[in-house]
Amino acid sequence: MNTSRVFGFKTMKTLLTNRSRATITSGLRRLACTPSSCPRVCIVGGGPAGFYTAQHLLKAHPAMQVDIYERLPIPFGLVRFGVAPDHPEVKNVINTFTQTAQHERCCFHGNVTVGKDVSVEELKQAYHAVVLSYGAEGNRLLGVPGENLSGVYSAKDFVGWYNGLPCNKDLCPDLSHETAVILGQGNVALDVARILLSPLDILTKTDITQPSLEALAASRVRRVLIVGRRGPLQVAFTIKELREMVNLAGTRPDMVPADFKGIAEVLKDLPRPRKRLTELMMKAVREAPSGEGSTSRQWGFRFLRSPVEVLPTPDLTQTAGIRLGINRLEGSGDGARAVATGETEDIECGMVISSIGYQSLPIDPAVPFDPHKAIIPNAVGRVLKTSGLYCSGWVKRGPTGVIATTMNDSFDTARVLIQDIETGILDISTAKPGSQTVTPLLQKRGVNPVSFSDWEKIDAEEMKRGSVVGKPREKLLDVTEMLKTVHS
């Protein structure tokens, strides 16, 4: 063989960038791809569930084409709009999501609300399968009088506000009162408590939004009570988040030692995670300084209390306090039930944040929805009584679980889908057009999808604005502004 030709070939190979090599390979693959071997799947929702489902589908099937449709011009779901700004390390998952989005067989279409801009039926026509991974956009309601008073917020809105979710940018929570009550004892409750009480110099170095930073700087909130309907052994938060509260500079715990009577005796029988969590809580109770200390900010747990009514100010407009029903526990362990004793107790407060859970909502009448469990009814991710529909993440399991849980359940859904292709349950024998028909349809309806590289423009702009003020990023808060940045 001619050496110069060999050399030429080698040089060309070395000079090929990874990306162009990837394109060539995918081009070859596409050429070689017969309709029956080229499944097209679309995913609704660009949060962890969507990205992890896509990741596994792409890995497990060499010809799989995946499109992700996301309501916002911005990917990553709750990793951007839920995870607390002072937890940047959690957001490292974005590195893997970015790799997935840039995979040659994956395409991100932001700014598309499925159920409104395009129906699930239309997606089913264009793809062999549709995976619903749209999370939980609503929140559970307290269902008590006074819930709509000014000064009552859902944790979902409050979190959306400090994290820059466009629909929450005008929340302007009233932070002018000394005591805030948070209902619910999960990790979201602790996130909210920590943000309310964190020293400003911690928050200024995060990607918290500038308006919320300014509001928190002027905040008069000094005392945050985190109220649970059950006891210390039933709290839903985890130890890492509790430890952060215990170590939060400038604050001290304000607990009721009597709440922990009898707990020491049962400690030894608890599984390790619950045991360590409870021990840390008891340590905080033991070491809580009594009376007024030098630290002016306090946080504490109140147990066996259910909200009965949010109490209004005399003019009936504002929150003045909350009436809590006192409970006793029936049974023990995780399954213990709160039973009302009929007694009540009032706490004066100017702010009530309801952190009793997010809630998934139906997005399209074509998709079955279980209104009781507020999930899409499914068996390991196969939507019941339908074909070609799958689900993953919070909309599949309900609004609990950390990113790792969401990852595992998304992998499960992807495995099931691949299995269905292999067994023929999912018919891929006819070719499907995918975004080739969906994109023109959207454009005809005046919707301009945002690509992943469009998002990178927003990303660059946010980081530029952040660097000016010494933050990792300054988030854009308005969809119109995001789109303007994309098209500038």
Binding site: Y52, R276, P472
Partner: protein, 186 residues
């Protein structure tokens, strides 16, 4: 918190390749990854260099294996598949999995910053006993791991040492795999 050379050491080990990498990154499919997008806490000194861990780890896999590779480790993944690899003393097991491209689904989601527990590994009893005790922060995260056992650790916090030569580490079995096969659509 970390008692052995973790990412920082890996970084210095590969500092020489970072220059090269910076230029290569421009052309790679990873070019769009915003380096230093979300900086892990406490790692500011190296993350401020503007290189994401992802790149560092990738660079390790792209470079030649250092000559001192000499500790043998066997990995058994969630499907029971066994992989044997020979690695340098001092690197964390997370780095091993990534640089040696060991096939473990979703391993190391938080890039080794003690924020995810996806790097959960199960050790042999005798090896586990010999390891340094865990710090609270590792146990805090480990306690959230799926399939926790008495000899579980987080792979991003365990660094390879010579005496570990020949050990087998196991990824928790995916019990759901079997369950799934028996579920049919109704």
């Amino acid at each position: 918190m970390a008692r052995c050379v973790h990412l920082q050491s890996l970084l210095s080990q590969h500092l020489h390749s970072l220059h090269l990498l910076a230029s290569r990154a421009l052309f790679s499919p990873m070019a769009g990854v915003r380096q230093g997008l979300y900086l892990p806490r406490g790692l500011g000194s190296w993350s401020s260099r503007g290189f994401s861990l992802y790149h560092v780890l990738n660079s390790a896999s792209q470079g030649n294996s250092p000559p001192e590779d000499k500790v043998t480790i066997h990995f058994v993944n969630q499907d029971g598949v066994r992989t044997t690899t020979s690695v340098t003393e001092g690197v964390s097991l997370l780095n091993v999995v990534i640089t040696k491209k060991i096939d473990i689904n979703g391993f190391g989601a938080c890039d080794g910053t003690l924020a995810c527990s996806t790097c959960h590994l199960i050790f042999e009893e005798n090896i586990f006993q010999k390891m340094e005790p865990m710090v609270d922060e590792e146990v805090d995260m480990l306690d959230l791991a799926y399939g926790l056992t008495e000899t579980s650790r987080l792979g991003c916090q365990v660094c390879v040492q010579k005496w570990m030569d020949g050990m087998t580490v196991q990824v928790p079995k995916d019990v759901k795999n079997e369950k799934m096969a028996s579920t049919v659509n109704q």
